[in-house]
Amino acid sequence: MLKNRLATLLIWLSVILISAVFVVLVLDLVRHGWAELSLAYLVDAPLDAGRGGGIGPIMVSTGLILALTISVAAPLSLATAVFLTEFSSKNSVFSGIIKRSLDVLASVPSIVFGLFGNAFFCVYLGLGFSILSGGLTLACMVLPILIRTFSEGLRAAPDEYRLAAAALGLNRAAALRHFLLPTATPALIAGLMLAIGRAIAETAALIFTSGYVDRMPDSLMDSGRALSIHIYDLSMNVAGGDSHANSAALILISLLFMINTLSSKLAYHWMHKRITCL
């Protein structure tokens, strides 16, 4: 009986502790970052190494890196997921090896992706410190996440759809286009949002691939500073950059929160649309 009481007490205490830490963290960010926030902050160029001005070029670089990451990783992941779920048998050695390698890839530390991106994209392929190198490195990083969520989405489509399509004499390509991919759309969107969230939060993989330059990028071959790197640089390398670092962190968190909310809204919306048109 005493043990039962004690366990209840300890569990409530840990939960209160965790919630308190979370609240303090969020309040600190808002308190320190709020003062500098304005529309001008979002579009202006940084001044004096980021102590003044805004984060305009940094937002552009971040957007370019993200767009590149997703446009490379999404088609590749979709093809891989379709192959693994629809075109290979469960016990085949080939797909077994591929699944293993993707599982390991998913747990590779981001700094190792940074090392690899620097050695492969920047030096070996000669892309240098550029948005292109950074985007491609992040594409490698989000690939296993995308493949996993895409596969789960496809696998969740009921087998009746596959059987019905076959009975109608449709080939697999048509079955995919008309039944399976539309059914899996909510999962595909959710996967994309997860990958965008992961990519936008990433820092370590970008330091040695897309670089530090905080000018407005002219092309994909220019170095561009991502938002997360801006936060890191302001707080570690720029004396007196803390308040601007907090503002940038507040913006990063709000972006992530928006992506998160949007993905669940979109998934819900699509789910309803699909059911009414079936």
């Binding site: 840990s14 993707l102 190792v112």
Partner: protein, 281 residues
């Protein structure tokens, strides 16, 4: 499997894309090995643990202090985050009134989504000064452990939560029929059932802690030394790479890639352990 002509083409393309996806891991390992080769080719791996210190300019590459900082901070973070994470999951499943459960789960999910650089920033501006009041310098092994624990806690909590959720309701009913107390049910019936899934979550969290770079880099102080106490500044393997990559040349660069290889080795070992854990359950 019968395939029409169109499907055969499609299948070929898909197989090609799949091969590309699968090659990335091999490419990563290849490039780590190739870049480490200038040092590895001498065949004296012992230099990474027997050199006097880490002084790349004098060709001394002892990575032991960094390795122990990585292991100590990971171990510390796990010690804190495991009980708290499991307690969170138990709260969600068995203790929370329903109006609190969903809100609390949302907090944990949000914590999981906060980027590491933001944890680092908070650790540096809020946590480190507090520790500094207690025992300077503030940026220390302890600060790294606390920040890491916050970062891996959601992983443990969310996996434990779904592990507990997957237990069939009949076990709850049987325990109730035996008049076990709430804690008795959890301790002797539910936790043993969920043990291996919770273990898998802990391994996942371990991998995250070993590989974490930015947050640790910002709060650990980055002095290369064997820590004597929790308040000493340390530098982890990952932080070392991030700090020195910018200017490393030649053998120094190779030494950093060797530490990257060491990280990969730990991650692959963990993946092996997770596989054994999965098979044995």
């Amino acid at each position: 499997m019968f395939l029409s002509q169109t499907d055969k083409h499609l299948s070929l393309w898909l197989r090609l894309c799949t091969l590309i996806s699968a090659t990335i891991l091999a490419l990563i390992i290849m490039f780590l090995l190739a870049e480490s080769w200038p040092l590895l080719k001498h065949g004296v791996l012992t230099q990474f643990i027997s050199d006097e210190s880490w002084h790349p300019a004098q060709r001394l590459y002892n990575i032991l202090p960094m390795l122990s900082a990585t292991l100590l901070s990971t171990l510390g973070a796990l010690t804190l985050a495991t009980p708290l994470g499991i307690a969170s999951a138990m709260f969600n499943r068995y203790y929370a009134p329903s109006f609190l459960a969903s809100g609390y789960r949302r907090i944990i999910e949000l914590m999981a989504g906060i980027p590491s650089v933001v944890y680092g920033l908070w650790g540096l501006t809020t946590l480190a000064p507090v520790i500094n009041l207690w025992h300077p310098p503030g940026v220390s092994l302890l600060c790294a452990i606390l920040v890491l624990a916050m970062m891996i806690l959601p992983t443990i909590a969310l996996t434990a939560d779904s592990a507990l959720g997957a237990i069939p309701v009949v076990f709850h009913q049987t325990a109730a029929a035996l008049a076990l107390s709430r804690w008795g049910t959890i301790r002797h019936v539910l936790l043993p059932l969920a043990k291996s899934s919770i273990g898998a979550g802990i391994m996942l969290a371990t991998g995250r802690a070993i590989g974490e770079t930015m947050a640790v880099l910002m709060v650990a102080g980055n002095v290369v030394q064997q820590p004597d106490s929790l308040f000493d500044s340390v530098r982890t393997l990952t932080a070392n790479i991030a700090l020195e990559m910018a200017y490393a040349m030649g053998d120094h660069r190779a030494a950093l890639f060797v530490s990257g290889l060491a990280l990969m080795l730990m991650i692959i070992l963990l993946a092996g352990l997770a596989e054994i854990n999965k098979r044995s359950s």
